[in-house]
């Protein structure tokens, strides 16, 4: 089959690779009908995520048709149409039972390396380096789905792929980020980053009862899409802290979402220092947005971090967090927790997630797609792939 494989920084290629096979009894094989390129794939593309190996198949947002099931898979049959969460979870460990699906104990064959790096290992993920198990991903024609009895959700035939593909990652990610804000009546939520995750944060925040959403970015089409979702927008070139303060009667937003993560661009001095250090390999991450969140958030508020960070952060004003009694919530999305309720939102037409798609490419065009997405060219916000 054809698959999009990683070969190094800014080097992804569509190669012919063996078809996936059943390796464990709870596996299934899915023929992919739609997949997508994620903002976090760009960290892989830019070479910032350690433990990638040449030839790894990328892609963690995908859906399709079950074509084969292992001996112990009883809830799926050949022909079922499924969306697959990017988190691989066993369903039986301490963490899965607490619905902390992205922290599963039993799905990372490379758990030890992750333990050495982080103290403990979480779940395996598709296409996201050997720290997360090295699982072959779904920017391909077929994919092996471990623990197929725990992850995938069946979707009804009437709904097009484009409306449900984002259940695999970015819609639950935006929703969990908003849910983590503990939104109360009257709240203002500030969201840095109007990429696809930020867009779903905006709509989820309103769905969860936010009074107002303020979105911060610099890319015009992304800010326009944010406004279409009901947000008020601020340019990241402005004095964001001051603007937010004036817009909230001096209090600051009740919750701040960092939907940008480790590759933040920034225009202040701290951002320049981040970039210089990163170039000198003195640091991995650029937490420019996280600093702004900690600064801007009202006392006793919540900073919610769906953005991906990989290593150590420099110069984080943790004293601000302490002085203001902030709550910080982070982590990889517990996708399985949200599949059913968010599918229901789509089915009753409360939201149409396909709004975020700007580009539809074939798998063969994916390498160009990565470039376009990285450089935000051609009004690119979200790319889906047809294998």
């Amino acid at each position: 089959m054809k698959a999009l494989c990683w070969f190094g920084k800014h080097d992804v290629r569509v190669e012919t690779v063996p078809d996936p096979i059943i390796l464990n009894p709870r596996d299934a094989i899915v023929r992919i009908t739609t997949s997508a390129i994620c903002g976090s794939d760009l960290h892989l593309y830019d070479g910032y995520i350690p433990r990638m190996e040449k030839g790894d198949v990328l892609g963690h947002e995908f859906m399709g048709e079950v074509v084969e099931i292992g001996a112990e898979v009883r809830n799926l049959k050949k022909g079922d149409r499924v969306v697959v969460p990017f988190t691989i979870s066993c369903g039986q460990c301490f963490y899965c039972r607490k619905t902390l699906w992205s922290l599963c104990d039993n799905t990372n064959p490379g758990a030890y390396e992750s333990e050495v790096m982080n103290g403990h290992s979480g779940a395996g993920l598709y296409g996201y380096s050997h720290l997360y198990g090295g699982y072959a991903g779904g920017q391909a024609q077929y994919v092996r789905v471990p623990f197929a009895d725990v992850g995938p959700i069946k979707v009804p035939p009437g709904i097009p792929d484009e409306k449900v593909i984002f259940l695999s990652d970015i819609f639950p990610t935006g929703f969990m980020a908003a849910e983590n804000c503990n939104i109360q009546h009257g709240d203002t939520v500030a969201i840095w980053g109007c990429g696809p995750v930020g867009q779903f944060c905006i709509r989820s925040a309103f769905a969860l009862g936010a009074e107002r959403v303020i979105a911060i970015d610099e890319v015009p089409e992304r800010m326009e899409m944010a406004r279409e979702g009901g947000a008020t927008t601020i340019s990241s070139h402005e004095e964001v802290f001051d603007e937010l303060k004036q817009m909230t009667g001096g209090m600051g937003p009740d919750a701040c979402i960092d939907a940008v993560g480790m590759e933040a661009h920034g225009f202040n001095l701290a951002a320049k220092i981040d970039q210089a250090k990163q170039a000198l390999k003195m640091t991995l991450d650029r937490p420019n947005v996280l600093r702004q969140c900690l600064h801007a958030c009202r006392k006793g508020g919540t900073v919610s971090v769906p953005g991906v960070y990989a290593g150590f952060l420099d110069n984080i004003p943790f004293g601000m967090a302490v002085a203001k009694g902030l709550t910080i919530k982070t982590g990889q999305t517990h996708v399985q927790r949200y599949l059913k309720p968010l599918l229901e939102m789509v089915e009753r037409e409360q939201i149409d997630p396909s709004f975020v798609i700007t580009h539809r490419l074939s798998l063969e065009q994916a390498p160009d797609g990565y470039k376009t997405f990285l450089n935000k060219q051609d009004g690119c916000i979200k790319i889906i792939l047809k294998p």
């Binding site: 494989c5 096979i21 390796l23 072959a136 623990f147």
Partner: protein, 155 residues
């Protein structure tokens, strides 16, 4: 070397699986076979890189169902190996704490090479991997793997 995991299964069940020493190769890496040759005696085999085997005998020292199992290589072996696994009830319905302690000393000879092959460069990792696999096997019935999965050749 010591490593601990918490497994959401009863201590007795975990002890019994471990006590049936033939099960050990299912989760301990590079171990070819363990055969019980007597009440408290077993014969261990690991594969060598050349395709032959390294072998030695071990005996059980302490054996309390659901609590502890310890073993050591027989005197006169080329390898001086001792190990124990302890099971204790975990609080809050979390199942069982499982703690494994292992010690190797190599006295010389070809079994020195065997141990190096068995545990690799990083014996701590070998122990950790074995216990992580034991936990996955006991909780889910499977050991997570990507061996044999699809990928492109490195160019």
């Amino acid at each position: 070397m010591v490593y601990s995991v918490t497994i959401l299964r009863p201590a007795l069940e975990l002890y019994q699986y471990w006590r049936s020493l033939e099960n050990l190769p299912r989760f301990i890496g590079e171990l070819q076979s363990v055969v019980q040759t007597g009440k408290d005696v077993s014969h261990w085999k690991i594969k060598s890189a050349q395709g032959s085997f390294y072998e030695w005998d071990a005996r059980i020292l302490e054996d309390k169902a659901g609590e502890v199992l310890s073993w050591e290589s027989m005197p006169g072996s080329d390898i001086d190996m001792a190990g124990s696994v302890r099971f204790a009830m975990a609080p809050g319905g979390r199942g069982t704490y499982v703690k494994v302690a292992l010690k190797y000393a190599v006295t010389g000879g070809k079994l020195g090479a065997a141990i190096a092959k068995w545990t690799g460069d990083d014996p701590k990792r070998h122990l950790a991997d074995s216990l992580i696999r034991f936990k996955a096997l006991m909780e889910t019935g499977e050991i997570p793997t990507v061996e044999g999965q699809t990928r492109a050749n490195e160019d």
